[in-house]
């Protein structure tokens, strides 16, 4: 009797499982892998959604739709009325934001959904698009896999080679709310044949578009940030070796890997402006040298020539950042950590304080390996 009773009870408990209403079958899910936000010709918000199609009958592997909506959540219903099943953002890979939207004040508020809704993937990449977002969303190159996954891989690997910055939603939020650092995100553009990730987009602390860095500038920025991820390869044209940009072949060129970045930052404050002394020591490994040179004997001479070039390049990047009054290097963190009282005065206008700061750079490279041949 007792046994029957407990069995009955266990069976009764089973029925409660059907009370969990969150069950969704995979067939009923449309996995949104890429989302696009842009403003159309009438300055209305357009939301694009790209999701994979798993049906054999479908000719295309991607399902792309666009709607006009007030907010991102508002777009979900409209999108669901168009795509095959229920939209899920749990696998979101990329969020493409049009440059036009980036120049619109308050656009970052739109992202609220991603941070509030616990179902969204917070590691989705935030990518700025130079040009209309729709062109990329509907782009289906024949020699690539699904564009959403292709872009994800493209951005990841370009970032791994230090060519572009990469910001996930979380990373973007962190930089945005960090008063001592400004966000910098990947920039993407479309050419006739392919999508190119060769820009990093500078934003200010309200998320507004400020400017962009190209590949070389971003590599330099990675050194400045002491944030190089893997092999950082630099190519220098040494005027001492007869390099000249106008020639067809530039035999005064030299390439090297930066093995490590050793950065020392000293922070000072005087006469109402910050002063940063950035000291870099870079062990490098030669990978390419088009001119003849006795590296073993005259190491110091060659190192000096490289230092001069690199220092000039770094100075140029810092000048550009200062001109735009944005600090993606994060020198504000140093200001806060070591000069807190002075920082407090400028913490809400760090961009301006950074612009006026006196930033001095010293680079010392050290050739640790000349390669297989002399």
């Amino acid at each position: 009797m007792r046994r029957a009773l407990s069995l009955l009870l266990a069976a009764a408990l089973l029925t409660t499982i059907s009370g969990c209403r969150d069950r969704v079958d995979l067939e009923n899910v449309t996995l949104m892998l890429m989302m696009g936000l842009d403003l159309d010709e009438n300055n209305k918000l357009v939301i694009y959604a790209s999701s994979p199609v798993f049906s054999k009958e479908a000719k295309e592997k991607n399902e792309v739709t666009q709607v006009n909506a007030e907010t991102l959540r508002d777009s979900r219903g409209k999108l669901e009325a168009r795509v095959s099943a229920l939209i899920s953002t749990g696998k979101l890979q990329n969020i493409l934001v049009g440059k036009k939207l980036l120049q619109h004040p308050g656009w970052i508020k739109l992202l609220d959904l991603f941070y509030r809704d616990s179902k969204t993937r917070i590691n989705a990449r935030l990518i700025a698009v130079d040009g209309p977002v729709g062109e990329i969303m509907y782009f289906a190159p024949a020699n690539k896999r699904r564009l959403s996954l292709h872009i994800a891989k493209l951005v990841d690997t370009a970032n791994e080679r230090n060519l572009v910055e990469k910001a996930t939603l979380f990373e973007f939020n962190r930089q945005l709310l960090e008063r001592g650092k400004m966000p910098i995100i990947t920039g993407l553009r479309k050419t006739k044949r392919e999508v190119v990730a060769d820009e990093s987009i500078l934003l200010d602390n309200s998320g507004m578009y400020v400017g962009s860095l190209d590949l070389e500038e971003n590599e330099i920025l990675q050194i400045l940030q002491d944030d190089q991820i893997s092999d950082l390869s630099l190519t220098f044209l040494l005027p001492e070796q007869g390099a000249n940009k106008d020639k067809a072949l530039n035999l005064g060129a030299l390439s090297c890997y930066v093995v490590d970045v050793k950065r020392k930052v000293r922070t000072g404050y005087s006469d109402g402006r910050f002063r940063f002394d950035l000291d870099f020591r870079l062990p490098i490994r030669l990978t390419e040298r088009l001119f003849s040179f006795d590296v073993q004997k005259d190491t110091a001479q060659l190192e000096k020539q490289i230092d001069k070039q690199l220092q000039a390049q770094m100075k140029a990047v810092v000048d550009k950042l200062q001109k735009h009054a944005v600090d993606p290097i994060g020198l504000g963190l140093f200001a806060r950590a070591y000069r807190y009282r002075d920082w407090k005065k400028v913490q809400d206008q760090w961009g301006e304080a950074f612009k006026n700061a006196d930033i001095r750079i010293r680079v010392r490279t050290e050739i640790i390996d000349m390669g297989e041949i002399r």
């Binding site: 408990l13 409660t16 969150d22 941070y115 993937r121 917070i122 979380f170 650092k181 963190l333 806060r336």
Partner: protein, 371 residues
């Protein structure tokens, strides 16, 4: 005649020193850890971690005092102790106080746990149904008495150690500059944070009930110290990780800072690691409210005397279910109830032991009481 699993005086219900330590620690570490980094940062920025040491100091002192009190009557819980020294009705009153206190403790945490599952994993399911899923295991542990609870806490603590290791993945995302300068605004903000940290150490008052079960009572003092220290180390570790990863102004934006930060851990073979972590963390949370449920039911049984332990366990679970079915507290209500409850907790766990210790040490000077 079966053994009475709920009898503190029985040798069969004794627990080892390790179980004693881990049970106290278990009751301390629970839902509070999820929101604590954010709570600390909201009051004193990235200096909040310093206040944890003060919380630890206060809770250790209070736990040592409780051990001193319990030494006066080693074979019984606080209820028997009060009845012994101050008479039967004081004993009943104590049973009522702890019955209410521990039941609210258990209910609020169980409810918060259900809310967490609801908010993070199953938004559309009802809270009471999510609660129901934990009733059968909770029931079996509660009727097993302190020994079953001690063993449960032991195994859950061991099984959840890997989560601390997983958190280490986050260190490479961190920036140590966030912590500098230490004491950026002086000691005042830190002192204002102490209140929050003291509350997060609540749970050591379980010594009132665990002490008679401890097999080697000489270990009680360092046992409670070890429990508090272990809790402190875990709190420090989790708080520092959050402070390093979040930028200083960002962390105060998040409700469950600890859970959100786990979202950024990803493996090639698995995204949304936070869901796995949360599911496993539910075990950690369960070991805060299951002991509290036992202590609550135990106290009420002492109050009413009649009935078998099983009935009390069922009754308590049924009432918890009914309350959620009728009231169904939302996040704000849960937040407010916890805030209100923490005041009660301060009184029961910090103020009461000090007063009781004072009264007892005066009483014990008279030989008459030393029986």
């Amino acid at each position: 005649m079966s053994i009475d699993r709920w009898n503190p005086a029985s040798k069969q219900n004794s627990i080892t020193t390790l179980q004693f330590i881990l049970t106290i620690h278990s009751m301390q570490l629970g839902v509070a850890a999820l929101s604590m980094p954010g709570d600390l940062a909201r009051i004193s920025g990235t200096d909040g971690w310093i206040a944890l040491f003060f919380g630890w100091m206060f809770s250790s002192a209070a736990s040592l005092i409780i051990v001193q009190i319990m030494k006066a009557y080693p074979s019984g819980t606080i209820i028997e102790l009060m009845a012994h020294f101050f008479g039967k009705w004081t004993g009943k009153l104590t049973a009522l106080l702890f019955g209410v206190y521990m039941s609210i403790f258990a209910y609020l945490i169980l409810d918060r746990m259900a809310l967490l599952i609801q908010s993070w994993i199953m938004q559309q399911s009802k809270t009471y149904i999510l609660m129901l899923l934990f009733f059968v295991p909770a029931y079996t542990i509660v009727i097993g008495g302190v020994r079953a609870i001690g063993r449960y806490c032991e195994i859950v603590v061991l099984l959840s150690l890997w989560m601390l290791g997983a958190m280490l993945f986050l260190l490479k995302e961190g920036n140590w500059l966030h912590l500098l300068p230490v004491l950026k605004e002086g000691w005042m903000p830190v002192i204002r944070t102490i209140n929050t940290t003291i509350i997060s150490f609540l749970g050591f008052e379980s010594v009132f009930f665990l002490y008679p079960h401890l097999d080697n009572k000489k270990n009680a003092s360092w046992g409670v110290l070890a429990a508090n220290t272990y809790t402190l180390l875990i709190y420090l570790f989790l708080t520092l990780i959050c402070f390093l990863v979040y930028s200083p102004d960002q962390i105060s934006e998040y409700n469950e800072a600890l859970l959100t930060v786990v979202k950024i851990i990803e493996f090639r073979f698995m995204e949304r690691f936070d869901i796995i972590m949360l599911a496993c963390y539910l075990l950690v949370i369960s070991k805060t409210w299951v002991p509290a449920l036992y202590f609550g039911a135990f106290s009420v049984k002492r109050l009413l005397i009649v009935g078998k332990p099983k009935r009390y366990a069922w009754l308590f679970l049924a009432v918890m279910f009914a309350i959620t079915y009728v009231w169904d507290p939302d996040w704000n209500e849960s937040q407010n109830a916890m805030k209100w409850f923490s005041r009660l907790g301060l009184a029961v766990a910090y103020v009461m032991p000090v007063l009781l210790w004072g009264v007892l040490s005066i009483l014990l000077r008279f030989k008459r009481w030393q029986t």
